[in-house]
């Protein structure tokens, strides 16, 4: 005879299995969150651990004798003569005097390789700034070559066979000797913040890229903030509901999701080829980024306007303000924090954007620090892209350091947006 099964038994029989499944599901969820957090931490750890050392740079102490015979044969301290003197020779001579035992041609060349080629420019600048140095002797800290720098930072393995190493045994011995004398030191890397790009890692810096980013962002902000706010005001406060405004809205939503590289194509075809604006200029970069950030700003500004209660508008209209007056004097001030938050977030996006700027030629190798929106320049993310492509080991740490600077700016901007929102956001 068949036992009649009660449903509670069926439920009980499956309960253990169901609970196990519940636990499993919960674990998957937790694992997903942990995986996400793990990725964040790996990313940051890998970049910081690669990049922190770039903030220090090895310098060599050269006891330079500014020989009057050699630098200023005419003795008139004429700047033209002084700037043409052979400072590279002076550096080499100093090195030879430091290591008198080095004689062979090849050995000498290796010896010269310990010091950066920027040392000569540094000495020249010192003499031009202060001609009274001539005839005196002075210890000067000059940047070491990037290979020496990498050795001191432990990125060159001394145990490798000599032929596989960028620095030869002899050079290792000289470096050790310099270090023992205290003539080789790691100091804070000011060059990194004051110089433009360079092919020599020890002479390269992010100032050019930072200024380029600054000009580009200034153009973007000047254009996108007024236009974005104006568009939001029109759509939220004036626009009748009809096909035309629907079309505008669909357009804005779609533009927000168009790949950024397509904006670069637009910039190349319209601004550069059609209007003939200069290539690589922050002006064009700013225009392209304006078009790209506008949807973000418009959407945020509309949300801010929406959150202002209608009673404010009605009160203003009720005491005789015109519609424009109502908006300018009453609605806008209340919506401004939200709009600014959206703008800052849009600017942070623009600061990190690089793909469209590649299209309009902001990838050129530019040594000079740009002085305006028409000068050729690059921006920080593109500088990172360029350095990431460079083969020298020393550029890896510089790339990471530039990333750290970029992330620092982004964190500050986003924190500002959060503070602004917390501080001024009103709940009605």
């Amino acid at each position: 005879m068949q036992q009649p099964t009660r449903s509670i038994d069926v439920v009980r029989a499956g309960l253990a299995k169901r609970y196990a499944r519940e636990r499993r599901f919960k674990t998957y969820g937790l694992l997903a969150v942990l995986a996400g957090l793990l990725f964040v931490s790996i990313l940051f750890v890998s970049i910081v651990s690669k990049g922190y050392s770039a903030f220090w740079q090895s310098y060599v102490l050269l006891p330079v004798k500014f020989d009057a015979e050699q630098l200023d044969p005419t003795g008139e301290r004429d700047p033209a003569v002084l700037s043409r003197a052979d400072y590279g020779g002076l550096v080499k001579q100093t090195l030879r005097e430091m290591f008198p035992e080095v004689t062979g041609r090849r050995d000498k060349r290796r010896l010269y390789d310990l010091v950066s080629s920027g040392a000569a420019f540094q000495l020249r600048q010192m003499v031009l700034d202060d001609p009274s140095l001539i005839g005196t002797a002075k210890g000067v800290w000059v940047p070491a070559d990037d290979d020496v720098d990498m050795l001191l930072k432990g990125h060159i393995d001394r145990t490798l066979p000599e032929s596989d190493r960028r620095l030869k045994d002899q050079q290792l011995a000289w470096v050790d000797k310099l270090q023992a004398q205290g003539a080789l030191q790691q100091r804070f890397n000011t060059t990194f913040f004051t110089a433009g790009d360079s092919r020599e890692p020890e002479l390269s810096g992010i100032r050019g890229a930072l200024m380029g980013s600054l000009y580009t962002l200034a153009v973007t902000l000047l254009l996108s903030f007024p236009i974005g706010v104006a568009a939001a005001i029109y759509l939220e406060e004036f626009a009748p509901r009809n096909r035309w405004t629907d079309l505008i809205e669909v357009n804005i939503n779609n533009l927000a999701a168009v790949p950024s590289i397509v904006f670069g194509l637009l910039g190349l075809a319209v601004f550069i080829n059609f209007f003939g604006l200069p290539r690589s200029a922050p002006l064009v970069g700013g225009l392209v980024l304006t078009l790209m950030t506008l949807p973000t700003i418009i959407i945020a500004s509309r949300a801010a306007l929406k959150s202002v209660p209608p009673s404010i508008r009605e009160a203003a209209l009720g005491i005789g303000a015109s519609k424009v007056q109502t908006i300018v004097y009453h609605v806008l001030p209340l919506a401004m924090p939200g709009m600014l938050t959206g703008t800052i977030i849009g600017m942070a996006q623009a600061l990190g954007e690089s793909a469209p700027l590649l299209m309009i030629g902001m990838v050129a190798f530019i040594v000079d620090v740009p002085g305006g929106v028409f000068d050729p320049s690059t921006v920080l993310p593109v500088q990172i892209f360029l350095w990431a492509d460079s083969p020298e080991r020393a550029f890896v740490e510089r790339t990471s350091a530039a990333i750290m600077v970029l992330l620092a700016f982004l964190i500050v901007m986003n924190a500002l947006a959060v503070v602004l929102r917390k501080r001024f956001e009103r709940r009605w």
Binding site: A230, Y234, V270
Partner: protein
């Protein structure tokens, strides 16, 4: 005066005119603002706008046209023999003239005709600037005078100013449409030029991509093949890998954070995950190329697999990491939009939490989740920097994630970065790819937004 200084001067002038107009309005009514139709400030704005807008329009138009006019004048001033030269050589001569003026290095010997042309150019430039300055200022003053004379107690200055303001608002909001039109036109025209030399069918269905066109006719090995299938498969492969990473992690973390996690974990983990969304893509690219790819290669080597150093796997994995917060915040939105009553109903029937989620919440939220995933796919397809830095250039037709593939965006960048002439099929191909990218992502976005919107309406 140059364009920028002139604009600044105009702005300064209109600020001054604001005060003049304001004062004039007060004088007209004998210092009694009550007799005015509008507040005194509006008369000031009225005068300032009448000075600024016409002059600024003329300034913009002049600056847009003046270079081409001067150039054609200089060309017509050149000797007959030079004018007969082909377009490209004429361009070189013009470049030399410009370089001569700005004191740059000139590529040829400076002969008297060149010097004369340069002088002519410089003279015209100075003339144009002077004329522009005079004209802009004259127009500004004329406009201001007209507005100044129009000021009267019954004059509706506020209405006029407000109409201008609204016109500016309308113009700003239509910019979105112009941007879209600009994108479509700019990629469409160049694409049509491209399809003149390469048939559409070859582009869409060809299986070999090597965009090296021959410079000389007798050159070997650069036939130029523009079959984009390997690019599509590469793009899809990398996007697929990214989705494999991003969708489960993003969706599960959204579910965990909204359904299981306590407020403490949520307030800590959510912003941290959002950080991933704010990191610039170039940073991900660097991470993929210099950290993930070498690790993959070493791991592959240690288990006997041959992993390419520009493998699709590394790029796809990192792109997936980038998209996690995107998927998770979109899923979070739709999961929270599912009404609480549906959860309560399921709990009331004795379902466990996971059963509620799997049998009730996910089916209810599915359209929204699908929409979010479609948006994520469109982002993955359009993502540029990660693949430029971590994926390869060789157009391999393969589905093996350990090999190197290339994508549409990588090819756009490689074809357009650097010096190029603007009418070779090589450069135009980039625009054809751009058109394709735009169309595909647009279609995905429209579908996704439609799905999301339709779903939202169900519960409102």
């Amino acid at each position: 005066m140059s364009g920028t200084t002139l604009l600044l001067a105009l702005l300064l002038l209109s600020t001054l005119l604001y005060w003049i107009g304001r004062r004039r309005a007060l004088t007209v009514v004998g210092g009694e603002p009550r007799r005015l139709h509008s507040l005194p400030g509006y008369y000031g704005y009225y005068v300032a706008l009448w000075a600024l807008i016409p002059a600024a329009l003329v300034l913009g138009l002049w600056l847009a046209l003046d270079d081409s006019v001067i150039t054609s004048l200089v060309i017509s001033g050149l000797p007959e023999a030079m004018q007969q030269l082909p377009q490209s050589e004429l361009g070189l001569i013009l470049n030399d003239i410009r370089n001569l003026i700005s004191g740059n290095i000139v590529s040829r010997a400076i002969d008297p005709t060149l010097q004369a042309a340069a002088d002519h150019y410089l003279q015209l430039q100075q003339l144009s600037q002077m004329a522009l300055t005079l004209m802009a200022l004259a127009i500004a003053v004329a406009g201001a005078t007209y507005a100044w004379r129009a000021i009267a107690p019954q004059q509706r200055a506020r209405n006029a100013v407000e109409r201008t303001v609204v016109a500016f608002l309308v113009a700003s909001s239509t910019l979105a449409i112009f941007t879209t039109i600009g994108i479509v036109l700019s990629v469409l025209f160049e694409s049509i030029r491209f399809f003149h030399s390469v048939p559409v069918t070859e582009f869409l269905f060809g299986t070999s991509w090597s965009p090296q066109t021959a410079i000389r006719a007798d050159q070997v090995g650069s036939s130029g093949a523009f079959g984009a299938i390997p690019l599509f498969t590469g793009t899809l492969l990398i996007s697929f890998l990214a989705m494999i990473v991003a969708v489960p992690i993003g969706l599960m973390s959204a579910i965990y954070l909204s359904e299981y996690a306590g407020p403490k974990l949520r307030s800590f983990a959510k912003p941290l995950l959002e950080i991933l969304a704010g990191i610039p893509t170039v940073v991900y690219g660097f991470f993929a190329a210099l950290t993930v790819a070498p690790v993959m290669r070493n791991v592959g080597a240690s288990i006997g697999l041959d992993v390419s150093s520009e493998s699709a796997l590394a790029a796809g994995l990192v792109m997936g990491i980038m998209i996690i917060p995107f998927v998770s915040s979109l899923s979070d939105d739709v999961i929270n939009a599912v009404p609480q009553s549906m959860r309560d109903g399921a709990y009331g029937l004795g379902a466990t939490r996971s059963e509620t989620i799997r049998r009730v919440i996910i089916p209810a939220a599915l359209p929204g989740i699908v929409g979010g995933v479609l948006l994520a796919v469109s982002r993955a397809i359009g993502e540029t920097m990660i693949v430029v830095m971590a994926a390869g250039l060789a157009a391999n037709l393969t589905a093996n994630p350990l090999e190197s593939v290339t994508t549409v965006t990588v090819q756009i960048v490689t074809l357009l970065v650097g010096d190029q002439e603007f009418d070779s099929p090589k450069t135009l191909a980039a625009f054809a790819l751009g058109l394709l990218l735009f169309v595909v992502t647009l279609a995905l976005n429209v579908i996704a937004l439609h799905v999301v919107r339709k779903y939202r309406e169900q519960y409102e």
